[in-house]
Amino acid sequence: MENKDRRAPVSQQPHVVAKPEHPEHIGGSVSIQINEKKVTVPMGTTILEACRENQIHIPTLCHHDDLCIAGVCRLCVVEVEGMRTLQAACAYPITDQIKIKTSTSMVRKARRHILDLMISEHYGECYSCVRNNNCELQSLAEEYGVDSYTFGHVQESQYKIDNSSFSVIRDMDKCVMCKRCVRTCIDLQEVGVLEAVNRGDDTTISTFMDKDLADVVCINCGQCINRCPVGALHANDPSDDIWNAIDDPNKHVVIQTAPSPRAAIGEEFGLEPGHSMTQELNTALKRIGFDRVFDTNFTADLTIIEEGTELIIRLYQALVEKKEVSLPQFTSCSPGWVKYLEHFYPEYIPNLSTAKSPQQMFGSLIKTFYADKAGVDPKDIVSVAVMPCSAKKFECNRPEMDDSGYQDVDFGLTTREMAKMIKEAGIHLPEMPKSHFDNPFGEASGAGLIFGATGGVMEAALRSVVEFVTGNKAEDIFDNANIVPVRGFEGIKYVELPIGDKVGPVPDLIKHLVPNWDWLKGATLKVAVAHGTANAKKIMEDIKAGGKFSECHFIEFMACPGGCLGGGGQPIPTNEEIRMKRAEAIYAEDESLEIRKSHENPHVIQVYNEFLKEGPCSHLSHKLLHTHYTKRGKYIA
C-alpha cells in the first residue's frame, strides 16, 4: 500500500487496510466484540474508530484526525483477545472477528504508566503556559487521576526556547514527542521543516541541522501549532506590546479584523464552531480600547479589483499584444503560500500577483489615506490586524512592507491571542451587543468575506470578472451568485468558464487599460484552487511538467487546509468538521449581505475616486498596494 503521494516516512503512514466501497456486501464488514458488546464494522476500520462510533472513549495523544497514523504515544492501547501484547487502537485496522477490551486493569495501568513517564520529562507549569485549560496532556493527567510524580520530574529546563521566528515559537521542554508537528509539516503541508533526530531518550524534534526556525524553510503557516497537543509550539504573541499601545494616550490604535477569526473566535468562548461574532467583536474591541475597528474585507474587495485588473492586463498582454507574460497568475494573499513559493519554486515568482494581501493593503492605506482623512499623524498610529494566521506576523515584518513610510502593519494578532486579550479585559464576547465597523471604510462586500474559505478569493474574483466582461449580472449566471464549483474542501478544484460570444462594455474603472472585450469572445477561462501546501505542490509540479494546470489563467493558493478559516492562528482543536462549520458560517454571512461583489462596494469606489485617482494598477496603487518578492531557495545560509 505504498502511497507515492506522501512524503511521510512509511512508518508514519496509515497502513490501514483500504476500506471497502460497499461495506454492506458480503465480506465488506466484520463482526467484533467491544467490551462484550457485539458490533459490525466495515473491514479496515480502526479499533479507535469502532470504539468512537460506539461511544467508548479511548484516550489518544499522537492521533489527530487530520494526520496519518503514528501509533507512538501508546496511550490508546487496548486488549485484543489472544494477543500477547496490548494493541494501539488508533493504529489497528480490524480485519478479523476480534474481541476487544478497552478498560482492563492491564490497560489502565499501562495508560497511567505512559502518562507518568511523559510527565516525568515534561518541564513546564500549567499556569504560565499558553495551553493552560486547552492542553491534551493536562486533560489526560486529570482524566487518569495523576496526583504525584511517580517517576520523578525534571527540575530544570533541558532546551533553549527558539523564539527566532516572528510566527512560531518552539519550547521543546514541553514536547511529548507525539510527532504530530512532524506529520503536519511533512505530510499535510509537504514542507518538511521538522523531523525527529537522535535516538532513545535523546530523541527530539529538530530542524535542519538544528537551526533556528527563522533560518530554515518554515513557511510560518502554524499548522504545526494547531495540531500540537501541548504548549510546545505556540505563536509569537505581541499582545503585551498592543496593551502598551492601548494604554499610551498618544497612540492612535486601530485594528482590522479578518473574516475567519470572526467565524471562529466564539469557539474560544465555549460556543460551538460555526457562529460568526463579527459585530460582537466590534463592540468588544472598542471596549478594550481600540480607537477604530476596520473590516479587512474592505481591502479584500480592493485586492479583487487590483488583482483582477492585473489578471486582465496579463491576459491582454498575452493574447492581444502577444507579449511574454507569466501565466497562470497566482494569488498572493496567503503569506504562507508566498513564502512556500519563494523557497521551493522561486522561478515562479513572476507568476505571483504583485497585489498585496488585504492585511497589507489596509496597512498602507491606514497610515496614508486614513491618517490624512482623520487628521492623525501616521507616526502615532499603531496598526493591528486580527488574523487567523501565524504567517501574517511574518508578513507584516517583511522589510519591504513600509510603503506608507512606516511599518505598514505593526502587529499581527491571532484569533487565539485576540480571545485572550478580550478575556483579560473581563469581557465575555458572546454577550456583547452588536455594533458596526468604523468609517471611512465602513462595511465591505460578501466577496471580501468569503476570502476566508478555500475557493473564496476565486469566487470573489469571478463574481467581478464575469460581470466586467459579459456585462451580465453574476446572479444571472450562477444561482444567487454562489459559484459552487470552487467551494468545498476537495484538495484541488479545477473549473472552466466559457465566456461565450456576448461581451459587455468595459467598466469605467479600467477603461484606460483595455479598449474592449472582443479579444475574449469565445475564450474559456480556466481556473484552479488549492489549499494546503501539499496540494499546492501537486499543482506546481504539474505546471512544471506542462500539465493541465499550466494552461490555467488564474490559480488560488492558500497555505492552510480549508483556507484561512483553518489558519495557524485559529482556535484549537481543529479538524475537518470544525473547519466545515466555520465555512458554513462564512458563507451564511455572505448571503446575508446586501453587497456581495467587490466592485459594487461604494467605499472601494470612493477610495478610487478620492485617493487612488488613476485607478487600479496605476502608479500610486502600485506604490501602496503592490509589492515584490524574494528568491529564497531551499537552502538558507
Binding site: 505504498e2 516516512p9 512508518s11 501509533g71 501508546r74 492491564m106 505512559i114 513517564l117 517517576f151 532513545g200
Partner: protein, 404 residues
C-alpha cells in the same frame, strides 16, 4: 589467544553437516510449491531470529497474498549482544543460507531476495558477492533457475546502518527504503505489506539455512531432532566465562547445565539466555531446557561466573537499551531511562524497595505496551536479574534496610 572453536571442530546433526550448493534448489524446483510448504509445515520449523514464529505460516501468508511483486529478506543484522552465529553461517556455510533464500523465492513467488547484512560484517561483502556470482554462473540465480522455466530470481546484499533496532523486521524494511530505522505499526504485517508495501518474507539467516536442509532431507527428518514443540537443532553463540566460547549446534531441549559442560564453564553463577533482551537465569534454573517452550533464545548464551557483579551486568544491558531504543514510543523511550536510573539508584545505595517494585511494574507495562519487540523485551533483564539475584543486588550493604 583465540579460544573460539573453528569450523573443523564444528559438529551438528542438522546444519553443521556436509552439503553441496544447489542440491536443495534443484530438488525444490522439481517440486510443487505446495509440497515444499507441506514439508516445511511438517518440520514445524520456527523462526530462529528470536520471535519463533512458524516459518510455514509466514510463507503461506506471503504466498497467498495477491501482488505483482514479492520480496524475500534475509535478516543478517545480527545485532543482539552476544550472538554471532549468523556470521558463522554466512562465512562458513553460505550454501545453506543462499539456497534457502532461493527456495523461499520459489515458494512464495518472489523475484528478488535481499540480504540485510550487519554493517560490521562489511568485510564479508566481497566474498559473499563472489559467492553469488558463482551461483549465477551455475544457474542457481538468474533466469530459469535449475532449468525451471519461468523461475527468475536474484539476490542483492545491502549493508545495515549499525543500529540494533534495524534488526526488527519492520524497522529493517524502513531502513531498506531509506528511512530512519523505526518500527512500523502492525498489523498489517510484512507478509502482506512489507518492503515497498509489497508482501515480504523476513527470515533470519539460520531459519533459511534450516529450510535448505528440510527440502533436502524432508520435514519428518528435521522433526526427529529436538523436542516436540521445538524441532530441529539450534545454533548457540556462547560467550562469557567459559573455556570454549563459540557457535555450537545442539538439539533443542538441551539442558543449560549440559551446555555449560560442553563449553567448559565453571563456577557459573548466571546464564543470560537470549542476549540483552533475554532472561537471566540463576543456578537453581540450570536444569531448564533450551527450547521455545522453556528457555527460548535466538541463540545468544552469555555465561557469568561467581566473580561477576550482576548489578553491573544489568547496568550494561540497560545502557544498551537506552542507547538503542529508536525513541519513537513513550514506554520504551522514557521507560528504559527510568529503569537505568533505578539501577543507578541501587548502585548508589539510594533506593527504596517500593520504588524498585514500581519500576518492575513499569517494566511489565513496557513489555505489553511498547510498539515493537525492543521495548517489549528490554525490561526482561531488569525483571529477571532483580528477581533471580535479589539477595546479591538488593540485600547487600545495609542488609536490606537501605534506601530512603
Amino acid at each position: 589467544m583465540n579460544t573460539e572453536i573453528k569450523k573443523t571442530e564444528r559438529q551438528g546433526a542438522v546444519l553443521f553437516t556436509e552439503y553441496e550448493r544447489g542440491i536443495a534448489i534443484k530438488k525444490a524446483v522439481s517440486m510443487n510449491r505446495e509440497d515444499i510448504l507441506y514439508e516445511i509445515k511438517m518440520s514445524k520449523l520456527k523462526g530462529r531470529g528470536g520471535a519463533g514464529f512458524p516459518a510455514s505460516t509466514k510463507w503461506m501468508l506471503t504466498a497467498a497474498a495477491v501482488s505483482d511483486k514479492k520480496y524475500i529478506v534475509c535478516n543478517a543484522d545480527e545485532g543482539e549482544p552476544g550472538t554471532f552465529k549468523d556470521r558463522v553461517l554466512l562465512a562458513e556455510y553460505p550454501e545453506l543460507v543462499f539456497d534457502g533464500m532461493v527456495i523461499a523465492g520459489y515458494v512464495i513467488g518472489a523475484k528478488e531476495g535481499i540480504v540485510y547484512l550487519r554493517g560490521e560484517y562489511e568485510y564479508m561483502l566481497a566474498s559473499l558477492e563472489d559467492y553469488l556470482q558463482a551461483m549465477r554462473d551455475e544457474n542457481l540465480l538468474g533466469k530459469n533457475i535449475g532449468g525451471r522455466e519461468g523461475f527468475d530470481y536474484d539476490i542483492e546484499i545491502r549493508l545495515g546502518n549499525g543500529a540494533y533496532i534495524c534488526g526488527e523486521e519492520t524497522a529493517l524494511i524502513e531502513s531498506l527504503e531509506g528511512h530512519r530505522g523505526e518500527a512500523r505499526n502492525r498489523p498489517p504485517f510484512p507478509v502482506t505489506t512489507g518492503f515497498k508495501g509489497k508482501p515480504t518474507v523476513v527470515n533470519n539467516v539460520e531459519t533459511l539455512a534450516c529450510v535448505t536442509k528440510i527440502v533436502q532431507n524432508g520435514g519428518e527428518w528435521f522433526r526427529a531432532h529436538g523436542t516436540d514443540k521445538s524441532t530441529g537443532s539450534k545454533l548457540f553463540s556462547v560467550s562469557g566465562d567459559c573455556k570454549k566460547p563459540g557457535v555450537y549446534e545442539l538439539p533443542w531441549g538441551t539442558k543449560i547445565s549440559e551446555l555449560l559442560k560442553i563449553v567448559g564453564a565453571e563456577n557459573t553463577k548466571a546464564v543470560q539466555v537470549g542476549g540483552a533482551s533475554g532472561h537471566c537465569l540463576s543456578k537453581d534454573q540450570f536444569d531448564r531446557t533450551l527450547a521455545y517452550e522453556d528457555a527460548g533464545t535466538g541463540g545468544s548464551i552469555m555465561v557469568f561466573n561467581e566473580s561477576r557483579d550482576m548489578l553491573k551486568v544489568l547496568k550494561n544491558f540497560m545502557e544498551f537499551f537506552v542507547e538503542e531504543s529508536c525513541g519513537q514510543c513513550t514506554p520504551c523511550r522514557i521507560g528504559n531511562t527510568k529503569l537505568l536510573e533505578g539501577v543507578e539508584m541501587i548502585e548508589r545505595n539510594d533506593f527504596t524497595f517500593s520504588y524498585i517494585n514500581k519500576l518492575k511494574e513499569l517494566g511489565r507495562t513496557m513489555q505489553v505496551a511498547s510498539k515493537c519487540g525492543l521495548g517489549q523485551s528490554s525490561p526482561n533483564s531488569f525483571i529477571s536479574i532483580l528477581e533471580n539475584f535479589k539477595d546479591e543486588i538488593l540485600n547487600k550493604g545495609n542488609g536490606g534496610s537501605n534506601g530512603k
